[in-house]
Symmetry: C2
Subunit: 205 residues, 2 copies
Protein backbone atom coordinates (compact mmCIF):
# COMPACT_ATOMS: atom_id res chain seq x y z
CA UNK A 1 0.00 0.00 0.00
CA UNK A 2 1.51 3.26 -1.10
CA UNK A 3 1.89 6.12 1.30
CA UNK A 4 -1.23 8.15 1.89
CA UNK A 5 -1.14 11.75 0.77
CA UNK A 6 -0.78 12.99 4.34
CA UNK A 7 2.37 11.00 5.04
CA UNK A 8 4.48 12.14 2.13
CA UNK A 9 6.47 15.32 2.59
CA UNK A 10 4.77 16.82 -0.41
CA UNK A 11 1.39 16.14 1.13
CA UNK A 12 2.40 17.57 4.48
CA UNK A 13 3.56 20.72 2.78
CA UNK A 14 0.29 21.06 0.93
CA UNK A 15 -1.67 20.54 4.12
CA UNK A 16 0.41 23.12 6.00
CA UNK A 17 0.17 25.56 3.11
CA UNK A 18 -3.58 25.08 3.04
CA UNK A 19 -3.86 25.94 6.71
CA UNK A 20 -1.69 29.01 6.52
CA UNK A 21 -2.92 30.37 3.18
CA UNK A 22 -6.57 29.87 4.03
CA UNK A 23 -6.17 31.60 7.36
CA UNK A 24 -3.95 34.49 6.26
CA UNK A 25 -4.30 34.76 2.51
CA UNK A 26 -1.51 34.83 -0.05
CA UNK A 27 -0.25 38.26 1.00
CA UNK A 28 -0.39 37.62 4.70
CA UNK A 29 1.35 34.24 4.59
CA UNK A 30 5.07 33.60 5.00
CA UNK A 31 6.99 30.68 3.53
CA UNK A 32 8.77 30.25 6.86
CA UNK A 33 5.46 29.88 8.67
CA UNK A 34 4.34 27.21 6.23
CA UNK A 35 7.63 25.39 6.69
CA UNK A 36 7.24 25.56 10.47
CA UNK A 37 3.67 24.28 10.31
CA UNK A 38 4.84 21.39 8.12
CA UNK A 39 7.80 20.77 10.43
CA UNK A 40 10.39 20.97 7.67
CA UNK A 41 13.05 23.22 6.23
CA UNK A 42 12.02 26.18 4.13
CA UNK A 43 14.14 25.05 1.21
CA UNK A 44 11.98 21.96 0.87
CA UNK A 45 9.01 24.11 -0.03
CA UNK A 46 10.93 25.33 -3.02
CA UNK A 47 12.22 21.87 -3.80
CA UNK A 48 8.67 20.59 -4.22
CA UNK A 49 6.80 23.67 -5.38
CA UNK A 50 9.45 26.02 -6.79
CA UNK A 51 7.85 29.27 -5.63
CA UNK A 52 5.34 30.76 -3.25
CA UNK A 53 3.09 31.52 -6.20
CA UNK A 54 3.07 27.91 -7.39
CA UNK A 55 2.46 26.55 -3.91
CA UNK A 56 -0.37 28.99 -3.55
CA UNK A 57 -1.90 27.95 -6.85
CA UNK A 58 -1.80 24.32 -5.82
CA UNK A 59 -3.68 25.19 -2.63
CA UNK A 60 -6.15 27.39 -4.45
CA UNK A 61 -6.97 24.80 -7.08
CA UNK A 62 -7.50 22.21 -4.37
CA UNK A 63 -9.84 24.53 -2.52
CA UNK A 64 -11.75 25.40 -5.63
CA UNK A 65 -12.14 21.74 -6.58
CA UNK A 66 -13.72 21.18 -3.20
CA UNK A 67 -16.11 24.11 -3.57
CA UNK A 68 -17.18 23.65 -7.18
CA UNK A 69 -18.94 20.28 -6.89
CA UNK A 70 -20.99 21.66 -4.03
CA UNK A 71 -22.41 24.28 -6.33
CA UNK A 72 -22.84 21.86 -9.19
CA UNK A 73 -24.99 19.80 -6.89
CA UNK A 74 -27.75 22.34 -7.14
CA UNK A 75 -27.36 22.90 -10.84
CA UNK A 76 -27.23 19.46 -12.35
CA UNK A 77 -29.48 16.94 -10.72
CA UNK A 78 -33.00 16.13 -11.82
CA UNK A 79 -35.14 17.04 -8.84
CA UNK A 80 -37.54 19.98 -8.74
CA UNK A 81 -36.31 23.45 -7.96
CA UNK A 82 -37.84 23.23 -4.53
CA UNK A 83 -36.11 19.96 -3.70
CA UNK A 84 -32.85 21.25 -5.07
CA UNK A 85 -32.98 24.26 -2.82
CA UNK A 86 -33.74 22.23 0.30
CA UNK A 87 -31.15 19.67 -0.53
CA UNK A 88 -28.45 22.14 -1.41
CA UNK A 89 -29.02 24.42 1.56
CA UNK A 90 -28.80 21.58 4.01
CA UNK A 91 -25.73 20.06 2.37
CA UNK A 92 -23.93 23.29 1.90
CA UNK A 93 -24.24 24.46 5.46
CA UNK A 94 -23.09 21.06 6.66
CA UNK A 95 -20.18 21.15 4.26
CA UNK A 96 -19.15 24.62 5.42
CA UNK A 97 -18.94 23.49 9.01
CA UNK A 98 -16.12 21.22 7.89
CA UNK A 99 -14.36 23.86 5.80
CA UNK A 100 -15.05 27.16 7.47
CA UNK A 101 -12.24 29.04 5.75
CA UNK A 102 -13.04 27.96 2.19
CA UNK A 103 -15.43 30.69 1.02
CA UNK A 104 -13.51 33.54 2.65
CA UNK A 105 -10.32 32.27 1.08
CA UNK A 106 -11.67 31.69 -2.40
CA UNK A 107 -13.57 34.94 -2.58
CA UNK A 108 -10.72 37.03 -1.25
CA UNK A 109 -8.19 35.55 -3.61
CA UNK A 110 -10.49 35.76 -6.61
CA UNK A 111 -10.99 39.42 -5.82
CA UNK A 112 -7.27 39.94 -5.53
CA UNK A 113 -6.71 38.39 -8.91
CA UNK A 114 -9.89 38.10 -10.99
CA UNK A 115 -8.14 36.67 -14.05
CA UNK A 116 -7.23 33.67 -11.96
CA UNK A 117 -10.67 32.16 -12.12
CA UNK A 118 -10.72 32.22 -15.90
CA UNK A 119 -7.97 29.61 -16.00
CA UNK A 120 -10.22 27.28 -14.06
CA UNK A 121 -13.12 27.56 -16.49
CA UNK A 122 -12.20 24.43 -18.40
CA UNK A 123 -11.25 22.12 -15.51
CA UNK A 124 -12.93 20.38 -12.58
CA UNK A 125 -16.67 20.48 -13.15
CA UNK A 126 -16.76 24.23 -13.27
CA UNK A 127 -20.29 25.33 -12.38
CA UNK A 128 -22.49 25.85 -15.39
CA UNK A 129 -25.90 27.48 -15.20
CA UNK A 130 -27.38 26.28 -18.48
CA UNK A 131 -29.41 23.38 -17.18
CA UNK A 132 -30.57 25.26 -14.10
CA UNK A 133 -31.64 28.14 -16.28
CA UNK A 134 -33.79 25.95 -18.50
CA UNK A 135 -35.36 24.34 -15.48
CA UNK A 136 -36.23 27.64 -13.82
CA UNK A 137 -37.70 28.98 -17.04
CA UNK A 138 -39.73 25.85 -17.46
CA UNK A 139 -41.07 25.92 -13.90
CA UNK A 140 -41.93 29.58 -14.22
CA UNK A 141 -43.76 28.89 -17.45
CA UNK A 142 -45.86 26.05 -16.11
CA UNK A 143 -46.61 28.05 -12.97
CA UNK A 144 -44.85 25.99 -10.32
CA UNK A 145 -42.81 28.99 -9.20
CA UNK A 146 -43.27 32.72 -9.49
CA UNK A 147 -41.46 34.65 -12.22
CA UNK A 148 -37.77 35.07 -11.41
CA UNK A 149 -34.66 34.88 -13.53
CA UNK A 150 -32.42 31.89 -12.98
CA UNK A 151 -29.47 34.21 -12.49
CA UNK A 152 -31.12 36.19 -9.71
CA UNK A 153 -32.34 33.04 -8.02
CA UNK A 154 -28.88 31.52 -8.21
CA UNK A 155 -27.29 34.64 -6.75
CA UNK A 156 -29.86 34.68 -3.95
CA UNK A 157 -29.23 31.06 -3.08
CA UNK A 158 -25.48 31.61 -3.03
CA UNK A 159 -25.82 34.80 -1.00
CA UNK A 160 -28.08 33.34 1.67
CA UNK A 161 -25.94 30.25 2.07
CA UNK A 162 -22.44 31.59 1.77
CA UNK A 163 -22.57 35.10 3.20
CA UNK A 164 -22.84 34.17 6.87
CA UNK A 165 -19.59 32.23 6.62
CA UNK A 166 -17.78 35.16 5.08
CA UNK A 167 -19.11 37.81 7.40
CA UNK A 168 -19.15 35.81 10.62
CA UNK A 169 -17.34 38.30 12.87
CA UNK A 170 -19.35 41.20 11.49
CA UNK A 171 -22.65 39.43 12.05
CA UNK A 172 -21.61 38.32 15.52
CA UNK A 173 -20.86 41.93 16.41
CA UNK A 174 -24.06 43.34 14.97
CA UNK A 175 -26.39 40.68 16.28
CA UNK A 176 -24.42 40.83 19.52
CA UNK A 177 -24.32 37.17 20.43
CA UNK A 178 -21.70 34.72 21.67
CA UNK A 179 -20.19 31.82 19.77
CA UNK A 180 -22.69 29.31 21.02
CA UNK A 181 -25.75 31.32 20.00
CA UNK A 182 -24.16 32.01 16.65
CA UNK A 183 -23.58 28.32 16.03
CA UNK A 184 -27.22 27.68 16.87
CA UNK A 185 -28.30 30.42 14.48
CA UNK A 186 -26.25 28.80 11.72
CA UNK A 187 -27.67 25.40 12.57
CA UNK A 188 -31.18 26.79 12.26
CA UNK A 189 -30.35 28.12 8.83
CA UNK A 190 -30.05 24.61 7.47
CA UNK A 191 -33.82 24.58 7.19
CA UNK A 192 -34.70 28.26 7.56
CA UNK A 193 -32.81 29.42 4.49
CA UNK A 194 -34.54 26.89 2.28
CA UNK A 195 -37.92 27.83 3.73
CA UNK A 196 -37.16 31.48 3.17
CA UNK A 197 -36.29 30.99 -0.48
CA UNK A 198 -39.14 28.64 -1.21
CA UNK A 199 -41.71 30.85 0.49
CA UNK A 200 -40.56 33.58 -1.82
CA UNK A 201 -40.84 31.74 -5.11
CA UNK A 202 -43.42 29.03 -4.53
CA UNK A 203 -46.87 29.51 -6.00
CA UNK A 204 -49.53 28.48 -3.49
CA UNK A 205 -52.04 26.04 -4.96
Amino acid sequence: MSKSEKETTEGQILEAAKNVFQRKGMDGSRMQEIADEAGINKALLHYYYRSKQMLFEAVFKNAFSLMAPQLNGILNDDSTIEDKIRHFTHNYLTFMNKHPYLPKFIIHEVNRNPEFILNLRNVTGFPNLDKFKKQVESEVENGTIKPISAEQLFINIMALNIFPFIATPLIKAFVNIDDKSFKQLMEDRKTEVADFIIQSIKVKP
Copy 2:
Protein backbone atom coordinates in the same frame (compact mmCIF):
# COMPACT_ATOMS: atom_id res chain seq x y z
CA MET B 1 -12.28 79.55 3.86
CA SER B 2 -10.02 76.86 5.25
CA LYS B 3 -8.54 74.21 3.03
CA SER B 4 -10.84 71.36 2.19
CA GLU B 5 -9.84 67.92 3.44
CA LYS B 6 -8.72 66.87 -0.04
CA GLU B 7 -6.22 69.70 -0.40
CA THR B 8 -4.27 69.20 2.77
CA THR B 9 -1.39 66.76 2.63
CA GLU B 10 -2.92 64.79 5.45
CA GLY B 11 -6.14 64.46 3.47
CA GLN B 12 -4.35 63.43 0.31
CA ILE B 13 -2.53 60.74 2.22
CA LEU B 14 -5.75 59.41 3.68
CA GLU B 15 -7.37 59.38 0.24
CA ALA B 16 -4.41 57.58 -1.30
CA ALA B 17 -4.25 55.13 1.58
CA LYS B 18 -7.96 54.46 1.19
CA ASN B 19 -7.50 53.61 -2.48
CA VAL B 20 -4.56 51.32 -1.97
CA PHE B 21 -5.74 49.62 1.24
CA GLN B 22 -9.24 49.02 -0.06
CA ARG B 23 -7.94 47.52 -3.29
CA LYS B 24 -5.11 45.41 -1.87
CA GLY B 25 -5.84 45.00 1.82
CA MET B 26 -3.49 45.71 4.70
CA ASP B 27 -1.13 42.84 3.89
CA GLY B 28 -1.00 43.49 0.17
CA SER B 29 -0.38 47.23 0.43
CA ARG B 30 3.01 48.94 0.47
CA MET B 31 3.77 52.27 2.11
CA GLN B 32 5.74 53.24 -0.98
CA GLU B 33 2.72 52.65 -3.19
CA ILE B 34 0.56 54.82 -0.98
CA ALA B 35 3.19 57.56 -1.07
CA ASP B 36 3.34 57.32 -4.86
CA GLU B 37 -0.42 57.48 -5.16
CA ALA B 38 -0.45 60.55 -2.93
CA GLY B 39 2.44 62.06 -4.88
CA ILE B 40 4.60 62.59 -1.83
CA ASN B 41 7.61 61.22 -0.02
CA LYS B 42 7.25 58.06 2.01
CA ALA B 43 8.58 59.74 5.14
CA LEU B 44 5.56 62.03 5.13
CA LEU B 45 3.29 59.08 5.73
CA HIS B 46 5.12 58.45 8.96
CA TYR B 47 5.21 62.13 9.78
CA TYR B 48 1.42 62.28 9.74
CA TYR B 49 0.43 58.78 10.78
CA ARG B 50 3.46 57.28 12.54
CA SER B 51 3.05 53.73 11.28
CA LYS B 52 1.40 51.58 8.64
CA GLN B 53 -0.85 50.13 11.31
CA MET B 54 -2.08 53.56 12.40
CA LEU B 55 -2.64 54.74 8.86
CA PHE B 56 -4.56 51.58 8.20
CA GLU B 57 -6.71 52.05 11.27
CA ALA B 58 -7.57 55.56 10.18
CA VAL B 59 -8.70 54.23 6.81
CA PHE B 60 -10.60 51.37 8.36
CA LYS B 61 -12.46 53.55 10.82
CA ASN B 62 -13.39 55.93 8.01
CA ALA B 63 -14.70 53.06 5.94
CA PHE B 64 -16.63 51.62 8.81
CA SER B 65 -18.19 54.97 9.63
CA LEU B 66 -19.45 55.11 6.08
CA MET B 67 -20.90 51.61 6.22
CA ALA B 68 -22.49 51.67 9.65
CA PRO B 69 -25.12 54.39 9.07
CA GLN B 70 -26.29 52.51 6.01
CA LEU B 71 -27.15 49.55 8.18
CA ASN B 72 -28.62 51.69 10.91
CA GLY B 73 -30.98 53.07 8.33
CA ILE B 74 -32.88 49.82 8.28
CA LEU B 75 -32.82 49.34 11.99
CA ASN B 76 -33.88 52.65 13.44
CA ASP B 77 -36.52 54.45 11.49
CA ASP B 78 -40.23 54.18 12.13
CA SER B 79 -41.64 52.74 8.91
CA THR B 80 -43.05 49.23 8.57
CA ILE B 81 -40.75 46.29 8.02
CA GLU B 82 -41.84 46.12 4.40
CA ASP B 83 -41.06 49.77 3.74
CA LYS B 84 -37.77 49.46 5.54
CA ILE B 85 -36.72 46.59 3.35
CA ARG B 86 -37.65 48.35 0.12
CA HIS B 87 -36.03 51.55 1.21
CA PHE B 88 -32.87 49.95 2.48
CA THR B 89 -32.37 47.67 -0.49
CA HIS B 90 -32.69 50.49 -2.95
CA ASN B 91 -30.43 52.80 -0.99
CA TYR B 92 -27.84 50.23 -0.22
CA LEU B 93 -27.34 49.08 -3.78
CA THR B 94 -27.09 52.70 -4.89
CA PHE B 95 -24.62 53.41 -2.13
CA MET B 96 -22.49 50.41 -3.07
CA ASN B 97 -22.18 51.61 -6.64
CA LYS B 98 -20.28 54.57 -5.22
CA HIS B 99 -18.12 52.53 -2.88
CA PRO B 100 -17.61 49.20 -4.57
CA TYR B 101 -14.62 48.17 -2.46
CA LEU B 102 -16.14 48.93 0.94
CA PRO B 103 -17.76 45.62 1.84
CA LYS B 104 -14.89 43.47 0.51
CA PHE B 105 -12.45 45.59 2.46
CA ILE B 106 -14.31 45.68 5.75
CA ILE B 107 -15.19 42.02 5.74
CA HIS B 108 -11.71 40.89 4.81
CA GLU B 109 -10.04 43.00 7.45
CA VAL B 110 -12.52 42.07 10.15
CA ASN B 111 -11.81 38.44 9.36
CA ARG B 112 -8.10 39.04 9.54
CA ASN B 113 -8.45 40.62 12.93
CA PRO B 114 -11.81 39.92 14.59
CA GLU B 115 -10.95 41.74 17.83
CA PHE B 116 -10.70 44.92 15.81
CA ILE B 117 -14.45 45.34 15.52
CA LEU B 118 -14.93 45.20 19.27
CA ASN B 119 -13.10 48.50 19.65
CA LEU B 120 -15.70 50.10 17.40
CA ARG B 121 -18.64 48.92 19.46
CA ASN B 122 -18.97 52.15 21.42
CA VAL B 123 -18.40 54.70 18.65
CA THR B 124 -20.12 55.93 15.47
CA GLY B 125 -23.69 54.73 15.54
CA PHE B 126 -22.67 51.11 15.74
CA PRO B 127 -25.59 49.05 14.44
CA ASN B 128 -27.89 47.85 17.17
CA LEU B 129 -30.63 45.31 16.58
CA ASP B 130 -32.80 45.97 19.62
CA LYS B 131 -35.40 48.18 18.02
CA PHE B 132 -35.58 46.10 14.86
CA LYS B 133 -36.02 42.99 16.94
CA LYS B 134 -38.98 44.43 18.84
CA GLN B 135 -40.55 45.56 15.61
CA VAL B 136 -40.22 42.19 13.91
CA GLU B 137 -41.63 40.42 16.95
CA SER B 138 -44.53 42.82 17.04
CA GLU B 139 -45.33 42.44 13.34
CA VAL B 140 -45.11 38.68 13.62
CA GLU B 141 -47.45 38.74 16.58
CA ASN B 142 -50.11 40.86 14.91
CA GLY B 143 -49.84 38.81 11.75
CA THR B 144 -48.41 41.34 9.32
CA ILE B 145 -45.47 39.08 8.53
CA LYS B 146 -44.85 35.37 8.82
CA PRO B 147 -42.92 34.00 11.79
CA ILE B 148 -39.20 34.67 11.48
CA SER B 149 -36.57 35.72 13.97
CA ALA B 150 -35.25 39.25 13.63
CA GLU B 151 -31.71 37.89 13.56
CA GLN B 152 -32.35 35.58 10.65
CA LEU B 153 -34.21 38.26 8.75
CA PHE B 154 -31.41 40.72 9.34
CA ILE B 155 -28.80 38.24 8.16
CA ASN B 156 -30.86 37.50 5.06
CA ILE B 157 -31.22 41.16 4.21
CA MET B 158 -27.50 41.73 4.64
CA ALA B 159 -26.63 38.62 2.64
CA LEU B 160 -28.86 39.40 -0.32
CA ASN B 161 -27.69 42.99 -0.51
CA ILE B 162 -24.01 42.72 0.26
CA PHE B 163 -22.94 39.35 -1.09
CA PRO B 164 -22.99 40.24 -4.81
CA PHE B 165 -20.50 43.02 -4.18
CA ILE B 166 -18.13 40.73 -2.37
CA ALA B 167 -18.32 37.86 -4.78
CA THR B 168 -18.55 39.81 -8.02
CA PRO B 169 -15.82 38.00 -10.00
CA LEU B 170 -17.05 34.62 -8.81
CA ILE B 171 -20.62 35.36 -9.81
CA LYS B 172 -19.52 36.77 -13.14
CA ALA B 173 -17.64 33.58 -13.89
CA PHE B 174 -20.46 31.26 -12.82
CA VAL B 175 -23.28 33.14 -14.46
CA ASN B 176 -20.95 33.63 -17.42
CA ILE B 177 -21.81 37.18 -18.38
CA ASP B 178 -19.90 40.30 -19.33
CA ASP B 179 -19.53 43.50 -17.32
CA LYS B 180 -22.49 45.19 -18.92
CA SER B 181 -24.93 42.36 -18.24
CA PHE B 182 -23.63 42.09 -14.73
CA LYS B 183 -24.24 45.77 -14.10
CA GLN B 184 -27.78 45.35 -15.39
CA LEU B 185 -28.31 42.37 -13.12
CA MET B 186 -27.18 44.47 -10.16
CA GLU B 187 -29.41 47.32 -11.23
CA ASP B 188 -32.38 44.95 -11.35
CA ARG B 189 -31.63 43.86 -7.82
CA LYS B 190 -32.54 47.29 -6.50
CA THR B 191 -36.16 46.21 -6.70
CA GLU B 192 -35.88 42.43 -7.09
CA VAL B 193 -34.13 41.84 -3.79
CA ALA B 194 -36.80 43.71 -1.85
CA ASP B 195 -39.55 41.84 -3.71
CA PHE B 196 -37.82 38.57 -2.97
CA ILE B 197 -37.60 39.23 0.75
CA ILE B 198 -41.09 40.63 1.07
CA GLN B 199 -42.66 37.80 -0.90
CA SER B 200 -41.07 35.48 1.58
CA ILE B 201 -42.27 37.11 4.79
CA LYS B 202 -45.46 38.94 3.83
CA VAL B 203 -48.76 37.46 4.85
CA LYS B 204 -51.26 37.68 2.03
CA PRO B 205 -54.58 39.20 3.08
